[in-house]
Symmetry: C2
Subunit: 706 residues, 2 copies
């Protein structure tokens, strides 16, 4: 019997906490300072921390392990209660601060931030993007939609038969000049508004995307505010709403469907910042149809930030687990009977499975902040231009917006795909325990992956980005110049050869050279695609796969260069060596290894170097980063509440914590299932022969054959 | 107003069924005959069909859409009721037939087949693998464990702190020679039996893996039958069981934890086929410790078959959807206002995203049957040898078992990973609707992915396979010969150069050459790994990533050669062209494209050919297969019940079916949420100022500042 402990033991229990604490004690840099780097500055970081503390202490908002046992109905209710609670915060802080709060909530309760974001991020953004200043003021401020008081908006874009092709939506808004009204109608099942978050039970209003029909002419899809429910929360006549029901994840959101049966709204409920219909039926069209989708831009940007935070969260869980968990005795140690088993993270394969995702989280952080500030300034400039009615400035803003559509589309698709991979791979790296709901992976994955198909399906977005790049290349070859983040394409002619850019392991360590290698890969892949395109008479659909590859490489180029910029400009130079290791590992694995086929086929590096990349460079980088893993994950400063994983707590006491959660949520005193009667009846059932009334027995056979 | 239809429409609704039916009518081969090919013969296929019909008509067993709305507790209960129902079938058919039934149930209710498989596939297999003939007869037959009558077994292998390292388990079974008993004990929290399916509420007995301690000496992990519950279904004294709680998926299984506090069992409850302890405490050890894991082999084999069926199921859903769904007007058609939008599957990228998975499903089918028959004969031979007490034959069987561990490990890990990818990618290809629970992807994915970490974690399995291959290569270089499915390694010296194996698109079309290319890739990757290994003093952990790659390539080699063999031996030669297209697409995408980095780095094909593979060969194959997609998916012959997807039915009436399911499961007549009161109270709350009792108003300020 071993010495006294918290339970009676006859052997020595594992002590994962000791491993983690020992590594924490040996940290070589200050995680707090690193945290400032990750969050883009001390002020911002401290703000986040204060908010987190408020939410940790709030009994309604605070995350907990019961969350993982909630049914769909319970999730829906909890989400509503949390929204109610959050309205009190938004009434007392700036919108900017509230957005920060949402970004944090998005880590541990993404369905909550989405359900709220439907009103704040989509409905209100749609008003701002498409409505006049007066319309915005009326619904958002005077009628308090921004505070979810009186009005709760939803976003009526997608239909049952139309998602990505917004221009093909079939709901109609027919102008009735006699009554100065629009008639909103769902012509058939395919045009049923579908997936509309908040429609099933919450929303009072909907910003409806519908075809403007005036005098029998179809002017394409425009936006209209349509009340769904009155102030008694009863649906308006002609409005049918229903619940979409169960989903793969985010069951806390009441996604719904809506059918309009000739619902009348006043003419001035059309959002008319760019597009106007006079009472006589004169139509003024917007300068760019896509302007009406600007409501989606904010969401895309948020998703890049979310990708950073969710990758950080689950890298932390899997890495803490990999440090605490031991399995098999390694190498020579196996001779010693009392030797501890090997920490998972000391296996080179395990390092290789997880450390790239830690590195990726670091890399995304810089771009997330960058793209956030870019969208803010772009939309602000556009609004100013519209207010001043300055057509030149409007067109310039539209140009910036187009390039923002490209960059944000490339980052949104690439980062959300990668973050899904991070959650999945980190789960697998935790073995069986990753499959427990209480480790947090399952719900997070299910909640996350919708990111890959919504608000711009990743493939559709990526293709539109790739298409731009190919067009740019064709332009450059025609003597045109590219401006903005893709200006390296101007060097196309210089790199259209088979010269390798990376020739040695030393080159792999040179981040500027790696950045150049990505540029050259983009140039060569795009050039090759442009040749295929010519063979196929300019049909871009035939280079779909290449366009997706280009979009991904473009995102990596953006992210790596942003990271290097931030690293250069960050004051504390002590952190640089650690940041450099991280950037090198990201480049070597998430970029070079993942796209090795393309890099090799395009001759960006030679086959021999691929061998060294795999057998030497990556393992060495992993080894270099290994001792700093606890400090690097602690630097995310995600508290236990935010991480909300039974196997990923700060203290590293994996088994006790996990067992504690399991017992708290499933009291072992209930030894029988509620349906135990059925099970016991099965086990204690009479024999088959008896249940067959012995009709098939030899005795019966004798009787019957007489 | 358009002509009369089933609902009142003011526009023409989409008609996805028409597209699917038109393509079905144009089928160029008989899906029934193809079905025989896929299932390995007419007899087997017809058997499956009869069983499916029985289950379709059985009110308890039949799949339905309510399934996707069940809470965890409801899933648990339904699973128990279905098991109860299935016991009636197993009493009336051969075990072989019942296994076929399980393989079908595994497609639409995997938690059911697993929960049953815990008793039949693990507990009973453990008895058979480790018990004497008398022990097997006693528990399995006389006490009716095989019928789940009286006894329901669970499989007590993994512990909280030990999964993959079975030899490191810490539960003890100490021999007490005075009482001729073993004392089963859980020494500390880490040794708590964990993840034990059926333990929480169902099992009466457990086959416990515990360290055999005799006379103070530790003989390693052996197996023991330990009763958990008496015939009243109350837990035995000293036995504590608990519920593991919520999981990422498979919530219908009552996984549990077990702690033994000095529980006594008679000596003859030790399973003693290979290992014996006499009443005097003399220990006879087994000839191979791994023999005790043979219980896991059956499960691995089943997982390959499951990979086939689940890939078939979701390829079918996504492809039917891609044929029925239309989005954007393609190319020149866009000028015509009345032109239908383009079918998703007519986009080259969409073909490229989905058709490889269709091809993969075809390829897996052959190997699934092959590996199933191999394990049956291997275990049979071993049993005969043991019965005859023929040590030579036992050792020979052990050799076959070792090679079966390799092949099954390679296939299990590769196929379960790929099937997870299939479900995920097929879901994404259905856009938003793939995220609806009623499309079936969500639950299927969540249920599936545990396959990648359980019963041999995929990475651990893959490493053990890769290790064997590297060892083989080292052996061959030392002049030894390899026997069995990896005998191509004997050609190592011939291919250790930089000569390409595939040089042209014609070579890519030659499946024998592709097979050779895989062999050469394996040889060169293994050789390179062996060199790295030497540099690292023979520490295999340093080539972990390479070992995983080798295992995957090995599985693809196995699968492609099995498929080619079956194609050669199948009587109907009419099918050959279609099967060849499928095999070529699989090779080009799932093998060559996915491992392009390795193939290029090893010079198995040159960079130029990679360009042609991507821009020419793969798109052409996709085009070739495109017209046969409905026939190829119909050939899986999975009925609507088995597919159980609101967007993947046979009739292709996607929107009507889907809307119908949504409305049936979520009646729109309930217009308010149960928690609507809270929402309405939020919306109708008094203003912030009023709620603050006007304490912060300027009026109050005046009063207070007096």
């Amino acid at each position: 019997m071993v010495s006294a402990t918290n339970t009676v033991n006859s052997g020595v229990p594992p002590n994962p906490a000791a491993s983690i604490q020992a590594e924490r004690a040996a940290s070589k840099f200050d995680p707090k300072e690193m945290h400032y780097f990750l969050e883009g500055g001390e002020e911002r970081a401290e703000k986040f921390k204060q908010m987190m503390q408020q939410m940790e202490r709030d009994p309604i908002l605070s995350a907990n392990f019961q969350y993982y046992d909630l049914t769909k109905d319970q999730q829906r209710e909890l989400t509503a209660l949390r929204i109610d609670r959050l309205t009190r915060y938004i009434e007392n802080e700036s919108f900017d601060d509230f957005n920060k709060r949402m970004s944090l909530m998005g880590v541990f309760d993404p369905q909550l931030s989405t359900r709220l974001g439907i009103n704040l991020g989509l409905f209100v953004s749609c008003l701002k993007g498409n409505g006049t200043a007066e319309q915005v003021k009326y619904w958002a401020m005077d009628k308090s939609a921004v505070y979810m008081r009186g009005i709760y908006g939803c976003f009526g874009m997608t239909e049952l038969a139309h998602g990505s092709n917004v221009a093909g939506l079939e709901t109609t808004a027919t102008f009735d000049d006699e009554n100065d009204e629009f008639i909103i109608n769902t012509p058939h099942i395919g045009a049923t508004k579908w997936w509309i978050g908040g429609a099933a039970h919450s929303a009072t209003h909907c910003s409806v995307y519908a075809r403007l029909i005036v005098g029998g002419q179809d002017y394409g899809v425009k936006t209209f505010v349509v009340p769904l429910r009155d102030s008694n929360h009863d649906t308006m006549p002609g409005v049918t709403v229903g619940d979409i029901g169960a989903k793969m994840g985010r069951d806390g959101i009441d996604n719904g469907w809506i059918q309009f049966s000739n619902v009348r709204i006043p003419r001035y409920f059309m959002l008319q910042k760019f597009c106007k219909v006079s009472s006589e039926g004169d139509v003024q069209l917007p300068p760019l149809e896509q302007l009406s989708y600007s409501a989606l831009l904010g969401g895309r940007v948020m998703m890049v930030l979310d990708s950073f935070r969710v990758s950080a969260r689950f890298s932390t869980v899997a890495l803490r687990y990999a440090i605490g968990r031991r399995q098999f005795k390694a190498g020579s140690a196996s001779d010693d009977k009392n030797a501890l088993e090997c920490q998972l993270l000391d296996y080179p394969l395990h390092q290789r499975r997880l450390l790239p995702y830690l590195a990726l989280s670091y890399i995304i952080s810089a771009s997330a902040v960058k793209i956030e500030t870019t969208i803010e300034s772009t939309l602000e400039n556009l609004d100013k231009a519209v207010e001043a009615d300055d057509m030149g400035a409007i067109m310039k803003s539209i140009d910036s917006m187009k390039s923002l559509f490209v960059d944000s589309g490339s980052l949104k698709s690439t980062c959300t795909w990668l973050a899904a991979e991070v959650i999945d791979q980190c789960r697998q790296a935790c073995g069986g325990h990753g499959y427990s709901a209480y480790s947090g992976f399952g719900k997070a994955y299910n909640d996350w992956v919708v990111m890959c198909t919504w608000e711009g399906d990743n493939n559709v977005l990526a293709m539109s980005v790739g298409k731009q790049i190919i067009k740019h290349i064709l332009g450059v070859l025609d003597g045109k110049k590219v401006k903005g983040s893709a200006d390296f394409l101007n060097n196309t002619e210089q790199y259209l050869n088979e010269e390798p850019v990376l020739r040695s392991v030393d080159d792999l360590k040179d981040l500027k050279k790696v950045l150049l290698a990505i540029e050259v890969a983009i140039i060569r892949v795009a050039y090759q695609a442009s040749q295929t395109l010519k063979e196929n008479k300019g049909d871009f659909d035939t280079v779909g796969a290449e366009m997706v590859t280009l979009s991904k490489l473009n995102a990596h180029h953006f992210m790596l260069s942003e990271f290097l910029d931030r690293m250069d400009s960050f004051e504390s130079k002590q952190l640089v060596p650690y940041l450099e290791s991280v950037a090198k590992l990201y480049s070597a694995t998430i970029v070079l290894e993942k796209f090795a086929g393309d890099f090799l086929a395009q001759g960006v590096f030679p086959p021999k170097l691929n061998g060294e990349l795999n057998s030497k460079h990556i393992p060495e980088l992993c080894k270099e980063i290994r001792p700093n893993v606890i400090a690097l994950t602690d630097s995310f400063q995600q508290s236990d509440m935010m991480i909300n994983s039974a196997i990923g707590s700060y203290d590293g006491n994996i088994y006790e914590n996990y067992f504690g959660v399991v017992k708290a949520n499933n009291p072992p005193s209930k030894t029988k299932a509620p349906y135990s009667g059925a099970l016991e009846a099965m086990l204690n059932r009479p024999s088959k022969e008896e249940r067959e009334r012995f009709e098939k027995s030899t005795e019966t056979a004798k009787i019957l054959s007489k």
